[in-house]
Amino acid sequence: MGKGLKLTKKDLKELEKEIASNRKQRMEFIDMYAEWLKKTPNKVWSRQQNKLLNK
């Protein structure tokens, strides 16, 4: 068994920064995806979505 994770204040700050950056990137993806969705025919986007939903 390992000793477990030990984080300093600096490590935690770095982690929080990474989480915030990931969140921002997720939101940017949501925007990009919504824009793509709006200009894409229903048949095309729904077929792609179904590849995920019907797995």
Partner: protein, 203 residues
């Protein structure tokens, strides 16, 4: 995305997913039983293209008495659904749905995806049911929550997934939303600060 957004109704056609087909099958039972319902939460974002899956579809239904509930239970069984919480309809009514606990129904022999049902009781539930939106998908009708309320409520729920659903719905429908109504819901739910960051900001 091609859709008609008119008089509080949304009409569109697209390739149906297995979840869409199941939702249509489930809500048809509600319709035949003349039980008023509204779908809320994550499925709405998925219905309108969000790139994620879900394990459940949440619904509020009008409060019904035990006799009507038994009839609904029977038809759900005939349609191939069973209750995940209990196999006893008396228990389902008394210990769950009439006691403010959700009941889950899934296709017999499965547990996900499932339909999570609650009676509409709070002001928010009752509003959602009263102001539901009729969505026609490939000429099949399902009732969903008003989009403005759905976006505001997703901000209230507050998980990363909820924030992303709210932003997705806002970005897809922003030209069609009643922004006055949306901001009024956000004020009532006290989520204006979240909206500044999640909807209007960069996240």
């Amino acid at each position: 995305m091609e859709f008609e957004f008119r008089h509080g109704k949304i009409k569109f056609n697209r390739e149906l997913s297995n979840l869409d087909k199941l939702t249509i099958r489930f809500t048809k039972v509600l319709k035949r039983q003349k039980i008023d319902y509204v779908i809320i939460s994550g499925y709405i974002a998925i219905l309108f293209g969000r790139s994620r899956n879900t394990e459940d579809v949440d619904l509020f239904i009008e409060k019904i008495d035990k006799k009507r509930f038994f009839s609904f239970w029977k038809e759900l069984g005939e349609e191939g659904f069973e209750c995940v919480n209990t196999s006893n309809p008396d228990d389902a009514y008394d210990s769950y749905i009439n006691d403010e606990l959700a009941l889950r129904f899934a296709v017999k022999g499965t547990i996900i995806p499932n339909f999570e049902l609650k009676f509409s009781k709070t002001k928010y539930n009752i509003y959602s049911l009263k102001h539901k939106v009729e969505v026609s998908i490939n000429n099949e009708i399902i009732n969903t929550s008003e989009l403005e309320m759905q976006i505001a409520f997703k901000l209230k729920l507050g998980s990363e997934k909820d924030f992303e659903d709210a932003r997705h719905l806002y970005k897809v429908f922003k030209e069609h939303l009643n922004i006055g109504l949306l901001t009024s819901h956000m004020a009532e739910l006290k989520v204006e600060k979240r909206a500044e960051k999640i909807l209007w900001g960069k996240g």
